[in-house]
Symmetry: C2
């Protein structure tokens, strides 16, 4: 970037004018024309605190769409940097609200096809060998097919967030209870008022499932399942049962309401997919996006890419509506089943542009287009597991709009 | 761990008794003898929120030692898991409090031995190519030589925390202003009331220094330098200038108050170290530690290790006062200049034990003992850059105490 003119020239002129106006800003020891209240070196600052607060100049929060009546909140993807989602901004999707659970009254029961059923308190779980892992959780309904051009990334797909999780390998707990050899499924059940329950193949438990009690260093937040939740890396959010209270081991799936009437994907010809639990590879541009207005010149195209099947190996970005694609830089370390930050420097010349991104994961899966998804599954295959390439239209005046297209 | 009896047997007996008392907990659909107010499945939970809160059952906060009058707060290392420190629990060390800065009135000036001095607003910084990196920041005075046996890890060394930081490579900004060929140092200055300033070798800027504006996904917290701070991975905290307002490039160090009268290490024979800025490798056990009381049986020894010189390659743990050492497991990914979580399963047999840890980094540096440090530098070399192996005494009743020894 050394020879690129990253600043638009007006700001450079302003700067030089400012330098002159300020005179010896440094040499005179700070004699700069600032009102006393805006010069922070002139007043003693605030004392330390037990728990910090955000700057009053930052307005961060989850979007709560009124139509979902307190059951959904969306992570403001376009306001965030890096890959970690602050715990208090992790998206929410609740089926009966956030229960208030006192860990002194909470136990995890593991029973069914086991040698010896056991219950585990939070303190007991914490004595077991711990595992820490950074990965995303994404709701399977994380694409708004009815979004209009004035949609920001969070409105399109803010139901994905990432944390560093710590807990116990489910395989460790299953060894404790002694899973019988004919078992191949287990039920995971939450202690919210919906008693949300899903059937999970035992193989996932033996692979990489965790029961987690910590998120980004601290105890899991109540909205994320306090005091403990199931973590199934790469699998759709609702299977990562929050407020986990029961695991029942079995030789068949339980066919719960949430995996038959809900979380089943209708396909073409009156068929449907059951247990479509793995989240497919995807990418989302976070900047430039609506409601930004661009200045001409250099900026950075930024976004997140992830796959429930492993590592992201490639993110391609087009600025001409898909005619040409460039490789974006992937910020390391690139972790499996984790949000991966991608970036690409771009110089906007003031002409209309269409910006898109597409991800490829280590299995070779390439993020599909809207047309490919509709052709493969039919337009009625909604609202789950839709991960189309999305595009942003930069208009001549710099206004960025989502390229909204009907799902037909 | 499959054949280890991790639960103390009383809790197993309690569990089986509980199962009988509860009757068909599952089969009867939840007919368990819980008061209605403690059964979360019986009441609709709370709605979503814009910004989440911690569980009322968790009491997390930074310790503010009264003797430091609001200038220091300590990260509760023993209460945290994984490697990320929540932003609102990141340690604090302020020289004149936390300034309240409106980014609309804040600029970063880069001047001195440059082709063209420039100022950068926060918005301008964000247009540059971004870099995300997870690393620790540790205060150079992060060891309490006067700690007593009733000291927890935060009281001993809570002046270290870790975040995922995002910002601009300082080398990018220095290319913009055009650093002259004879320059080899630069001054970094904060806009707090202390106008804290340090001289930094230019080599560090060209290597891995960043000007960061985001921490764990969101804008940097005011206590951490909002709207922007210098990040010098692996270097002592005070050089990572917060509320950064000025970088002056030069051919010599500036010999500021903070690098002459302060942050200089007295050594033996009336000598001293200046610019001792790299944080040496270190490890800290976070459990078991004071004020825990242990039950017999299996538990996990846990801690953090880090080095300002690169990756941690080895953490050894002793449970017999240093006679024998075992290799702890390092939780991946192991990142350079980053807190690394180590764990070791341990079965406490009820007898007195002494637990210690020592870290080795990729340069081959081994964390020294208290005696090695005192012999090398003299007992008067305080309070900076003390990273001794620390030990914890498990008494016969399970009470864990810090092994306090005088610094002589």
């Amino acid at each position: 970037m050394s020879d690129n003119k990253i600043h638009p020239s007006p700001s450079r002129r302003q700067f030089l004018a400012g330098l002159t106006a300020a005179g010896g800003l440094v040499a005179s020891g700070g004699a700069v024309a600032l009102a006393p209240t805006t010069d922070p070196t002139r007043v003693q600052g605030a004392a330390t605190s037990a728990v910090g607060s955000r700057s009053v100049h930052e307005d961060l929060g989850r979007l709560q769409p009124p139509a979902y009546k307190g059951a959904i909140s969306l992570t403001p993807l376009e306001a965030l940097h890096g890959t970690i989602t602050p715990a208090d901004l992790h998206f929410e999707r609740h089926h009966a609200g956030v229960p208030q659970i006192d860990p002194a009254h909470h136990e995890l029961l593991i029973h069914g096809m086991v040698d010896k059923p056991l219950k585990f308190t939070l303190d007991e779980l914490k004595r077991f060998p711990s595992v820490t892992r950074t990965c995303f959780i994404e709701c399977s309904g994380n694409f708004n097919t009815r979004a209009g051009e004035k949609s920001s990334p969070k409105m399109l797909c803010g139901l994905t967030s990432q944390s560093e999780w710590t807990g116990v390998a489910l395989s460790t707990l299953f060894r404790e209870v002694g899973v019988k050899s004919k078992a191949i499924w287990f039920l995971a059940e939450g202690s919210d008022a919906a008693v949300l329950a899903r059937s999970i193949p035992l193989e996932k438990a033996l692979n990489d499932a965790l029961v987690v009690y910590a998120q980004n260093g601290e105890a899991i937040r109540p909205e994320q399942g306090y005091p403990m939740r199931l973590l199934l890396p790469g699998w759709e959010g609702n299977t990562n049962i929050k407020w986990l209270r029961r695991l029942e081991i079995s030789d068949a799936p339980f066919m719960t309401r949430e995996e038959t009437s809900k979380y089943t994907d209708p396909l073409k010809n009156d068929t449907a997919r059951l247990f479509s639990v793995v989240m497919d590879a995807r990418s989302v541009i976070t900047a430039p996006t609506f409601p930004q207005t661009l200045d001409k010149g250099w900026q950075e195209i930024r976004g997140l890419a992830w796959s429930g099947r492993g590592r992201i190996v490639k993110v391609e970005v087009s600025v001409d509506g898909g005619k040409h694609w460039q490789l974006a830089h992937l910020q390391g370390p690139v972790l499996a089943k984790a949000h991966t930050r991608f970036t690409l420097p771009w110089r906007w010349d003031g002409k209309p542009a269409e910006i898109s991104s597409r991800a490829t994961d280590e299995t070779g899966y390439v993020q599909p287009t809207r047309r490919q998804l509709i052709d493969a599954r039919g337009p009625g295959s909604q609202p789950y597991h839709l991960n189309p390439v999305m595009s942003w239209l930069v208009q001549g005046d710099g206004q960025v709009m989502y390229k909204a297209e009907p799902w037909v």
